[in-house]
Amino acid sequence: LPAKFDWRDKAAVAPVRNQQACGSCWAFSVVGAVQSAHAIEGSQLEQLSVQQVLDCSIKNEGCNGGSPVRALNWLKQTRVKLVPQSEYPYKAKTGICHFFSQSHDGVAVKNFAAHDFGGQEEAMMGQLLEHGPLAAVVDAVSWQDYQGGIIQHHCSSQWSNHAVLVVGYDTTGDIPYWIVQNSWGPTWGNEGYVYIKIGGNICGIADSVAAVIL
């Protein structure tokens, strides 16, 4: 494994977005992983519709919350194509699902792999390199006050409540850390990103991790 790796350097990560007052982090993490996987395959990086996942993944609860794995199951089973964000813009409210024909341009998910990497964060690095950015669920209670730097304390595992996108890691300094894109806008944290110490499953970063296969 390289000592540091960041999918942003490969132009495979879309800019940080803002979920606003809607519990849609689960949809942002899944759509982030899909749009990155699409770019890694060789397509132009394009923002895909979070609102489509929010409205149409009916086993989740829209702005009232959801699970990335459930959303990926829905994408895999229905083979629904995610359309560009410009065609189905984000409204920060759950709405009625808009259907598009199968001939409409979009990105479909063939499969996904969800694992618990507790105690195996190096293997998680390998998964990141192999498949692209990973959708993960974390404990983000202390993130209400986060301003920047590497989180090493005040973050439990097994009490997950927030979904994010792991886009890279850096082990070259004194404290190795994950580079994690959040969906609370670019003014939060490190320009919208949070750094989490690697090892010890800080914030439960390794508890439930999904890689997308297109």
Binding site: Q19, A21, G23, S24, C25, W26, S29, E61, C63, N64, G65, G66, S67, V69, R70, A114, H115, D116, F117, G119, Q120, E121, E122, A123, M124, G126, Q127, V137, A140, V141, S142, Q144, D145, Y146, Q147, G148, G149, I150, I151, Q152, H153, H154, S160, N161, H162, A163, G173, D174, I175, W184, G185, T187, W188, Y195, G199, G204, D207, S208, V209, A210
Partner: protein, 69 residues
Amino acid sequence: SSEELNRRRVYFQDARKRQAYLNSFSTAPQSAKYGINQFSDLSQKEFRDLYLRASADRAPHFSGPKTEG
């Protein structure tokens, strides 16, 4: 309203105390810093109810070789 303003002021003061506690663990230069951000005038319950709405389905343990611990 002034009632709302007072409530937000209390939440903000609570946040300052909470941040001081969290920062007391941040001794190394790269450690996380906690302070005022766009959520500082929300109560912890409001923050949880609005932003912490994800759940995790149980995922199988990765079956590759153990590399830590």
